[in-house]
Structure formats: C-alpha cells, structure tokens
Symmetry: C2
Subunit: 362 residues, 2 copies
Amino acid sequence: MNTLSLMRSAAFITLMFASASASAQALSDLKPSAEPLVLQSQGSFFVGGRTVETENAGWSDMKAIFGEPFEAGKVLIDQMYVQFQTPPKPTHTPIVFMHGGLLSSKQWETTPDGRMGWYEYFTRQGFPTYMAEQTGRARSGFNATIFNQVRDLKIAPSEQPRVYLGTSNMAWKVFRFGPKMDEAYPVQQFPLDHVDEFYKQVIPDMFETQVPSLLDELISPETKNPTVDNFADLAHELGGAILLGHSQSAGFPTQAVLKAKGGIKGIIQLETGCFSNLTDDQVKTLAKVPILVMVGDYLGEHPDAACVKEMDQIKAAGGDMTFISLPDVGMKGNSHMFMQDKNNLEVADLIIKWVSEHVDKK
Amino acid sequence: MNTLSLMRSAAFITLMFASASASAQALSDLKPSAEPLVLQSQGSFFVGGRTVETENAGWSDMKAIFGEPFEAGKVLIDQMYVQFQTPPKPTHTPIVFMHGGLLSSKQWETTPDGRMGWYEYFTRQGFPTYMAEQTGRARSGFNATIFNQVRDLKIAPSEQPRVYLGTSNMAWKVFRFGPKMDEAYPVQQFPLDHVDEFYKQVIPDMFETQVPSLLDELISPETKNPTVDNFADLAHELGGAILLGHSQSAGFPTQAVLKAKGGIKGIIQLETGCFSNLTDDQVKTLAKVPILVMVGDYLGEHPDAACVKEMDQIKAAGGDMTFISLPDVGMKGNSHMFMQDKNNLEVADLIIKWVSEHVDKK
C-alpha cells in the first residue's frame, strides 16, 4: 500500500465515524455569528409566470371533501421565486445568486456543518443580496400536469419528463469530494464530516419539464429556459444587478445578457459556464459586461480549457473577462461546492474584491 | 338583479381590471418597513431524513458528460428543511410555522401585495421564528424514484402517486375568496387585486409520494407522515417550541404531540385541524398542551362544528383549548389565507396575545 492509498484509507475510516456520529446534529451544529445582523429590509417575491389550462389537477378522489372534483382549471407555471435581504447602507452593486442542478437556494445559506453561508455574508459585506430559485425547482414549483396525464393513461409513460436525482455517489464524484465514493481527496475543503447534511440539500431536478434537453442547455448561448428570461427580467426590474450562477446555472447570466433586457452589471460564473459557439454579435454584447469565472481544485492541468476560446473572443472585442482557478491563487482543495467549503468566506472575499474593482467602480 | 348580485358584479369588474394591471409588478409592489430589522441570528438546517437505494436516477442519457451513467445509488429522502431568524432579546416562546397544502414557507413571507408577512412580524415581536417546509415539498425535496420507474416501464402508470395541483378556481373557492370564480365576497380581506401573485405561491403537492391517502391523514390522529415525525423532533431539539399548522397541516401539531417526544409548548391550528376520534389516552396527552384554533370568515353558522367534540373532551380532561372565529371577535371578511389578508398583522396580534397568556406564562 503506497502513501497515497494509506492516506485515502485513513481519510475513509475517519469519515465513516464522523458521518455516523453527525446524524441528527443539524440544529446543534449551528454556529451563528456573535454580531447581530442589521437589515434594512427582507422579503420575497416572484418574477414571471404564465397561466395554462389543466384537465388533470389530481383531485378526482377528493370530491367528498370539496363537493366538486376540481380536475380542470387554470394553473400558474414558469414563475421564479426570489428571496432578498438588504443592508441599511449598501456599499456594493446588488447581487443575485442562482443555485445549481439538484439544489435550491438553500445552497447559499448555512453550510452543512453550520457555518455562515454566502447569503448572510454578502449582506453583511454591504450587498443587497437576492437568491433566485430556478423556475421548476423548490418554491418556484414546476409544470406538473403531464405526470397526472401519464398516471391517467392519457399520455405514454415514455413522454414523461425525466426527474434527475442526485445520488450520493454522483455528488461525491461530480462535486469533487474525492476520486471515488467515500474516498476523499487528500486536501479537501468541503466539510465531509457533515456530508449527510449536504445530501439533504439535494432534491429532485425537474429541468426536463421545461426544456427538451438539459445537455443542449449547457452548450447553447440561446435558450427557451424560462428561468433565464426571469433572471434577465429580475436584473432589469432591479435597475441593475450582478447575476451569479453556479454549475448547471453557470451559463445563465451569459444567456440572460443575450436576452438584451438591460440591467446586468456583471456576470459571475462559478464552475465554468463558458460557451464555445458565440456569434460575433453575441461576443460584442458580452464584451460590455465584466465577467468573472471561478473554479475550484482537482480539475486537471487545464481547468480553463472550456473558457479559453470565449476569453480570447471577449478580450479581442475589448471586454473584461477574468478567470480564477482557486489553487492557482493559493487556495488548495476546494470542491465544486466552494460556497460551502471550510474557506468559503475567503473565497467570497476574492469575489467581492473582483466586484469592487470591475463592477462597482464603473 | 338584486343588490348582492350587483355588488358582486361590480367587484368582479374591478377585480378584472386590477388583475390585468397588476402583472409583473411583484418587485415594485414591495412595501418594506421603515424600521431596520435586527437579528441575533439567521440560517437554515434540516431535520430527519433517511437513505434509500435508487436504480433510476434519470441520468442514462448523460453518460457523455459524466463518463458513467450514475443511474444507481443512494438518495436521501424524508428530510425537512427549516429556516429561522431570532431577535437579539427574545420575549416569547419560539414558534414554528408549517405551511398548508399546495404551498411552501413562502406563505409566511411578504404578502402577494408586498406587505410584511408573519415570519418577519413575529420576529419583530420577539419570537425566535422558524418556518418548516413539509417533507415532500419545495426545498425539502420528495421521493422521486417511482416517477422514473414509470417512465422506464418498470412500474404501471396507475401506481404513480397523484400530484395535486392548485387550480385558480379551486383556490378561489376553497380559500374562500368568493362564492364562485372571479366573484369576491362583499367584504373580503384578501388582497384580490394581487391574486395572480398568490397563484404563483401555489406549487405541485407531492403528498401522495409519502402516504397512501391525503384524506386519511386529515382525519387520523395517528400518522406515518414523515413531516409529523420531523415536526415533533424539531420541537424536541429546540428544547421547547409552539407548533403552528395551517389547513392541510393544521392537524400536524396535534399529531406531533401524540408522538410523545416532548418539547411542544403550545399548539396553534389555523383553519381547523381538530380530530373527532381521539382515544382517552390521547385526550389526556393533549390536555397537557395549550391549544388555539383560529378560523376566518364565511364558514357558515357553526364554524366550530368540527372542533366541538375535541374541545369538550380536552376541557373535561382539564385541558386548555381556545376557539377563535375571527368574525365573532369583530374581524370580518377574512379568507382561508388570513396570514396574507389586509389585516394580517391584527390577526397576528390576537395570536400573540393568546401565546402571552396561555403559553409564555407557564
């Protein structure tokens, strides 16, 4: 057994014990700040949405309660839920966080091991801070009629949208906790002793209820994904905001800029979100908005591979695009989920520095 | 046309215009308090959850991205997401809000017309305030494997759980905005000029992914609904809390007390939640916890009909059970959604008065 294997085994054993003893400690794990948080305002609202007719609302067995079946009627879909809090004296441009695949806005709140998340931290640092929940996920709801139509044999099961589930072995590898399930990278910033608390954040992803293909969405700068329209409308309605996406949503800020509704003051892409098929007109449009791409560790020798072409194009068009690989600036061991990693506030400070220099000053 | 019909028609016409002009004004409708909100802490965590195996995670078409299909693995289900904020100097017993059917914790936040919701108001009034999201809804996720099994023809479509959808005509009548769709009651506290913003809160209800029958759950004091176990565990972990349910969840606090985990200092049932089939032992257990039932307007001549038997039993066992019908105490025109009605903070004050007198003093 070589040294690396030994370390991995040791990490694995430690992890197994930690995981077992950490169960049901979510509440007692909380580590709130000693400093009170002062908010000028807080609340929530929706952006977008449209009304459609359904004939399969699911209540056919409930006539006894309501006196009528309520099977047919209008439902509102494609809305986007947004939560916000603002500091008394904002010192930065408003920022909107958009979570990734299989996740909700919970991603930006308290970390799995009970530390402060970015929602609170950015507010404390002077940002009017918004969390937008992807249309089709969590409090934004999803278009559900087809599931009842399949159940009632009106539509073939093969027509039913896939529901993407985040298994723990998928999360472990794709989110780069380690090379294989239950084996951590030797340097790992993610709080793996509370990984079960992270798995609780992972919820069914109804992306395919909105667009024909998740894969196409990840590579196409143009999209009919209603989340992107809502994201663009939100920046416009706010009268100016930075849009930040992560992983599945990393490309959404760029797609939103290309909707040409105005108001997007900066693009922040966490864990890629670059496009290799932009038209000259699209490059010109994007060159007007400062762009930051940030990635964690363990992405191989060329973590910027997917972004090189777009960066060259944006820079040639006079734009401002920055790529930060965390290990290259001295932060080792960050996972895909660096907003929850042990050094999450140091990573946030890097982003805030970029905002101060590239967005606020303009 | 009699006077009542005339009034209804007038209301209808007014409403149609208001509804049309209110679209896309969700953000600009916000009416934040002029007073800053000071929090000792804020955050979120999960209660409960268990790991199950899935062989249908939905990724069979994505091998190109991940290098492996990730179809099989472990997923975490039955967890309950909880959001909280606490004032610097709490003056009341902690309270946990649980939303109703077809809704999420959004129910307790900013109202459809942009006013302060109960989450913020109770915090400002000195309550450590928690919002628990039903297991199976919104950020708590749901057990989704069976939907992919149906899609892949491994299980018959008829086995697929119903998804309950809230149509606007159902909401209008069941939530007592008016006697029939688009016709308001002559006195109506719900902000119907923003009813479209309310419909955006209404999301698919996956209740049937957890229990065989929603109907049975509403009438049975015993339950296997994981939300109720999580609700009971939360009160216990908090070391004492008032549990508040509404509509679909109005009976959950009672069901949670009967789990006998301790820590439930008070039960608040909005819009019924009474049981007519309690055993003597159950009555004895419930008689140890102060209970408040509160209902809105337009429930007929005997709004307490579903609660008379339980109240008699609780009182005979020496318990403390209060029934408040809002029109009987001078508040006219409240809908099923009185936490969002125009007089929502006055209604909250009634609840806070009850808490001060029946729970805090004990």
